[in-house]
């Protein structure tokens, strides 16, 4: 079958492959190489070994601080988003008046882009803080919690929809059996609902984790790292290293490689760890 399909490679696969090579594959390979060089315009790269990686961690605390800030933000966001989204999904699984409208409203913020989202919350948070005579750049604490609240606003509805689908997939007779055996609502939740929606929990944790960790637009629009660089997350720090200081492009590229490795490790670890807890159906 389709013996001559191979000959159609230029028609079927070449446009995508060429665009993919231009946008991703070649830049990726070049990026790895350039992280070991000193350069300003790609063409004038000089091999410096692992010097860029050392500089990234030792020249200043920016990278370490950004990493620490990102980790804290990610942990708080993953927990808060998933707990609230799961709770809302429990409330909205059984049909009642307005269920669909509620779902629609909660889901909507997810569609708004990061830059717009950041400025909406900038207005709101600064409006509240102005009663106390300060703004969001006054303290890193405000920036941190501002980012967390914004992330919750954006992602709760999205995760809620995934949880609702998971909860609705639980066979009704399982719930019935539990209630006949005398399990209360709390026991049902922990012994049946949560184990049965483990696949959804895996997906949602994974999604919130990578979304929070790679956050850029919202960070730029809400605080842009202020005060100082205290609320700067990893992606923004890499961006500022690339385009903020001349001669630091190699260091920026080295930071980007470290960033990529962390994201890849998280992705695999997460899938491996939670994958084991899934209940076979």
């Amino acid at each position: 079958m389709h013996k001559n399909l191979k000959r159609y490679f230029p028609v079927f696969a070449l446009p995508t492959c060429a665009a993919f090579a231009m946008a991703f594959l070649i830049p990726f390979v070049m990026g790895i190489y350039l992280s070991f060089t000193k350069f300003t315009t790609v063409t004038n790269a000089q091999w410096v070994g692992v010097q860029n990686y050392i500089t990234a961690f030792t020249a200043d605390n920016n990278f370490i601080n950004a990493l620490w800030f990102t980790v804290k933000f990610t942990v708080v966001s993953v927990i808060s988003v998933n707990v609230i989204a799961f709770f809302l999904a429990m409330l909205l699984t059984r049909p009642m008046k307005g269920t669909n409208l509620f779902r629609s409203v909660f889901f909507m913020p997810n569609l708004i882009g990061g830059i717009v989202l950041g400025y909406i919350w900038n207005l709101l948070i600064n409006g509240i803080l102005s009663y106390y005579g300060v703004d969001i750049t006054y303290s890193a604490k405000y920036g941190f919690w501002g980012l967390v609240v914004m992330m919750n606003w954006q992602l709760i509805g999205y995760m809620m929809v995934i949880y609702i689908a998971g909860i609705q997939n639980i066979p009704g007779d399982l719930m019935e059996a539990a209630s006949i055996d005398g399990a209360g609502p709390v026991k049902t939740l922990f012994k049946i609902t949560i184990p049965m929606v483990m696949p959804s929990i895996t997906i949602c944790t994974f999604l919130t984790l990578t979304n929070s960790f790679k956050l850029f637009d919202q960070n730029l629009a809400l605080t842009a790292g202020a005060p100082g660089r205290q609320t700067q997350m990893l992606a923004l720090d890499i961006y500022n290293t690339f385009y903020g200081k001349i001669g630091w492009q190699g260091v920026g590229q080295a930071k980007a490689v470290v960033f990529f490795i962390i994201v890849a490790v998280i992705a695999f670890l997460q899938l491996y760890l939670t994958g084991k807890k899934e209940v076979e159906q």
């Binding site: 995508t16 830049p27 990726f28 990026g31 009642m96 909507m108 999205y158």
Partner: protein, 280 residues
């Protein structure tokens, strides 16, 4: 007794959800409200309703937008989003079919490269990608469409190959026996079957491209702004003299297409986004 208790509990639940829904809408309503206030009354008191003194009508929309080139940015964003999505759907569907039907080491490698690209953060390739795109003069609204094809290929090929594997081979064989060449087989037989997944792929890419900031900023710069770039520039480039009225109007105009799009095909969007999550 228990019945009234249950009723009360349900009412409480409804009230709680209603309050939360209002809370969810407040940020968006706040921007809408402020876009009708005079620019001096926004930043200091964003929560006060417009009154006879602060109400500015649609002045913000007219003045703020015409001065910042926002309408051109809007048109550019529409152009880039529409053509990128069309190109992505057609090209990646063809590629995905090719990968599934031509089994071999090369197509397997291609598939894994596409999947791999999904976990790589944009910062990893942004500098070198910008360099290459500039070097081959793709740094214009038409060239960026191809850049989006490259970045959108990962998720799109991944989702489409997953679906194509479930398409029975017999249908295609029948088409071949009837004298269709691969192109005819694809467009007349396979592509119509792919429609549900193609819609999902289109929605996911449309949302991402419409909202994307960093890629168009790096490639097109501030000379050819898209909507997110125009918003960021209006804020960043003004150094303290931000026209808050015009800025609010910009935010509203950036949100409206998304809300209209959402209301008009909500079912597809929620389904598509969830499908993208489950598979991605």
């Amino acid at each position: 007794m228990t019945k009234t208790k249950q009723k009360g509990l349900r009412a409480l639940k409804f009230l709680f959800l209603l309050l939360l829904a209002i809370l969810f809408l407040v940020p968006i309503l706040l921007v809408f409200m402020n876009s009708f206030k005079s620019k001096f009354y926004i930043i200091g008191s964003p929560f006060s309703l417009p009154n006879s003194e602060t109400f500015a009508g649609i002045e913000n929309y007219i003045k703020g937008l015409s001065s910042s080139g926002f309408f051109a940015a809007f048109g550019r964003s529409v152009f880039i989003t529409v053509f990128s999505v069309l190109l992505i759907v057609v090209c990646t569907a063809m590629t995905a079919w090719f990968i599934v039907r031509v089994k071999g080491k090369f197509t397997k490698l291609l598939y894994y490269l596409f999947v791999f690209s999904m976990i790589v953060p944009f910062q990893m390739v942004m500098f070198t990608m910008t360099y290459i795109v500039n070097a081959i003069s793709f740094n214009n609204p038409i060239g960026i469409v191809f850049v989006y094809l490259g970045f959108g290929a990962g998720l799109s090929v991944f989702m489409l190959t997953g679906f194509i594997k479930s398409v029975p081979l017999e249908i295609e064989e029948a088409a071949t026996i009837d004298g269709c060449n691969p192109l005819q087989t694809f467009f007349l037989v396979v592509f119509p079957i792919l429609k549900p997944t193609a819609i999902t792929v289109a929605i996911l890419n449309a949302m991402w491209i419409w909202n994307d900031y960093l890629l168009p900023y790096l490639i097109l710069g501030t000379g050819q702004k898209t909507v997110p770039v125009a918003i960021q520039i209006a804020m960043q480039g003004a150094y303290g003299s931000v026209d808050w009225g015009g800025f609010m109007a910009m935010l509203v105009l950036a949100i409206i297409p998304i809300i209209v799009f959402y209301i008009s095909c909500q079912k597809y969007i929620i389904k598509g986004v969830v499908a993208g999550a489950v598979k991605g």
